[in-house]
Symmetry: C2
Subunit: 456 residues, 2 copies
């Protein structure tokens, strides 16, 4: 089969090559939804991601605390898409977009760069942690956005307890068993709750009379935990966390972070030093630098979160063939959650499908807000579903049902459900392997908050 | 409670400090069996390991091929021993033994060294891969003894398929999809069988017309695969592997290994070059350097595998308070398998228990050989149990039953069994995350074939 020159750069596909080429950057919630939405469309899809998996980010904290294994929340992209024959997967980093020539630049695993031409482009490269301009904090912080970061945090928590046992002086021990979480949104609250359970188990296993409970401190610049939730649920979460022993510092932000601790500053100007080796970052994010690249090329400005303002059909101003979705896009200032990203991905796939078969394209994108939820402990979660407010066991049940249904792949659903069921009855936090050398002092992941990326 | 000066170096224990101090180096099969055997003994046990987990080595190949998660075959030591209150766990590397002053030297996670005194010492530091004097091969080989090594091999196999898809020329693609396994014992045969299954899945997922099946080559210096098995079972395994597409080169050894391939040499002098980026080492092992340290101090010689010859009760010549067990010890030249190590560990625990309560100590150690087994594919294994020879599905059933029963912890047993059951029905090779950067060319583990260690 002769290959037209225009597609020489894309991997050969089994589908005929005269079909429109759709390139999707990023296989997070938005990108994967777009790719899957195109499964019956007469197009050739190439999805580019710099990891080989789709990460189910809402459960990353359970990998960081040893409950779930990496594979259970991160199925291989090729496996997810194995029956989708119009789609090729490319493990590479998208570094640039040329809107005029309609191609993207990718850096492949072998270190070579190449151009991949497109007829339609969907950019869903997500966001990365932002330290409010303090890039020097990065080496002392444990973020938890990627799987590598989650495993780095897991190693640190487990190693902290090993180091504490070696410590002769109580102050040294306390520093290892103090954990500060910056950001009291769902991620911060969920990791705080799990840290309570994990550190209790670790402490019991030490068989020592002289060990103290872990200090778990949750700080937030706002005056409430879970500020996007209704007041009654916020109050429930606050009360439960406090009862579990979590210290909550509100109206407080990180002022300085170093290897030995964090200095926090309250809005009233009061500062406090907390000695700790483990500061977990669950606060600000910033859109992928590809957002700025696209905005610049289109002659528009990014917003304060680094996002590209997009048209009502998620397309880039002046470029109806380019779509930007998820955390990177600013459409009605929707929050950076999985739900808007998934809905945008599905919507864009529908637009493209209709366009390629000559059907009338759908109207502007509208977001259906089904609600929001956050887990607090093994038997407690808060949930606001279509305005119905749940907490306690009922909330947890709703939380578990929704999370299981959104996991990709039946094998993973059954596996995760089994682990959770076990957990209620006994102690099955089974993923507790320290992967890095015990002599590594800070084995946190390679932080790369800057540089063009195709992460999510 | 005042602490006697003699135990100031050991971590405080809840048990009274006047009890005899037993130090166990290594928490592999032998060491863990010894520790657990001492659970009711009136002693204070300290177990030293440089990892935080007990590794179930017979299933390491299933982690390397994405079937099982690390935690499923490597429970945390502290969790295994959480109810054993006479035992403290120390995450550290045992670097030396002073038989005269009766203490060991350990290198702790914080980089400090300290001495730990003992009344009784059990050394079960295991063995590491030996490249027959070719230490320069190490950087090009993928060993699979530790969990880190298994994950390094997994990354390499998965990345090889990604790299193959980028390759323009067929020779380059073939080099990435060729896998050479050195050593056709159980480990080599088991990884070969799983590689057939894994590479078939990976190839199907590429959606390309131009991909070829993987080349999987198994070499061994002997003239048979699985040379320790009865002839009929050997023949069955050889025939099945060949039918599955594995190329078997017998009477052949590695002659040179580099980044681009391996040169093999047959006993008749014929040499052959095989282009590959993945050479898996499943051949020789050498005892931990602590064996030489002990032998030297006791005035005896190590054998050609680096092992210490021990007395019939597993004790070191001239040192009835020191025991050496497992891969490090030469007692009747028993093979380096889990069964002798476990039986020796239990035996030594019994000797120590009896000695500390004044009961007559048991007679010399005797090994009960219950048999041997190796798996070939999802539905085929060979087993020789008390002389009963099984193969095919019946062999696999026996294999699965024995492996499940020897796993540590009920949670892991149920988890692994569930994964296996799933696997028979569908494709649930779910642990396929590439953990290292896609731009790492050789992300194999930090090979450290030399230097005193407390591995197994």
């Amino acid at each position: 089969m002769p290959t037209p020159a225009s597609s020489a750069d894309t991997p050969p596909l089994t589908a005929a090559s005269h079909r429109p080429r759709v390139v999707v950057i990023g296989a997070g919630f938005g990108g994967l939804a777009a790719v899957r939405g195109l499964r019956h469309a007469p197009v050739e899809v190439t999805v580019v991601d710099r990891t080989n998996h789709h990460l189910f980010q809402p459960l990353v904290y359970q990998v960081a605390t040893g409950l779930l294994s990496p594979g259970e929340i991160a199925p291989a992209l090729r496996k997810i898409l194995r029956r989708q024959h119009n789609t090729a997967v490319l493990l590479a980093e998208a570094t640039d977009v040329d809107l005029t020539d309609r191609h993207i630049q990718v850096l492949e695993a072998d270190g070579t760069t190449r151009a991949i031409g497109y007829d339609y482009l969907v950019v869903a490269a997500g966001s990365h942690d932002s330290y409010f301009g303090h890039d020097d904090w990065a080496e002392h912080l444990y973020p938890m956005k990627t799987l590598t970061e989650a495993l780095g945090l897991r190693d640190q928590i487990l190693r902290a307890y090993e180091r504490a046992t070696e410590c002769g002086d109580p102050a040294g021990r306390a520093r290892w068993t103090t954990f500060v979480i910056v950001g009291a949104g769902p991620t911060g609250v969920e990791i705080a709750g799990q840290l309570v359970a994990l550190t209790r188990e670790l402490r019991e296993e030490l068989h020592r009379d002289d060990s103290s409970p872990a200090r778990i401190i949750l700080i937030d610049a706002l005056s409430e935990v879970l500020s996007t939730f209704p007041p009654t649920l916020r109050a429930h979460a606050h009360q439960r966390l406090t009862a579990m022993g979590v210290q909550i510092l509100l109206d407080t932000r990180a002022d300085a972070v170093d290897a030995a601790g964090i200095t926090v500053k309250a809005t009233d100007g009061h500062t406090e030093r907390i000695d700790t080796h483990t500061v977990i970052w669950a606060a600000g994010v910033h859109a992928s630098p590809l957002a700025a690249t696209l905005a610049h090329a289109a002659g528009i400005d990014i917003d304060h979160k680094g996002r590209v303002p997009v048209q009502r059909n998620c397309s880039l101003t002046g470029h109806p063939e380019v779509f930007v979705i998820g955390d990177m896009a600013n459409l009605h200032d929707l929050p950076g959650l999985s739900a808007p990203a998934i809905q945008e991905g599905r919507y864009v796939a529908k637009v493209l499908h209709h366009r390629t078969v000559g059907k009338p394209t759908p109207g502007p994108f509208t977001y259906r807000d089904r609600g929001t939820m956050a887990t607090i402990s093994a038997r407690d979660a808060i949930a606001d579903i279509y305005g119905v407010k749940l907490h306690g066991r009922l909330g947890k049940l709703a939380w578990a049902a929704v999370h299981i249904s959104f996991l990709v792949g039946w094998g993973n659903r059954v596996g995760v459900l089994a682990r959770w069921a076990f957990l209620l009855g006994s102690r099955t936090r089974s993923e507790r392997v320290i992967l890095t050398s015990i002599h590594a002092d800070h084995a946190g992941p390679a932080h790369s908050p800057s540089g063009p990326t195709a992460d999510r």
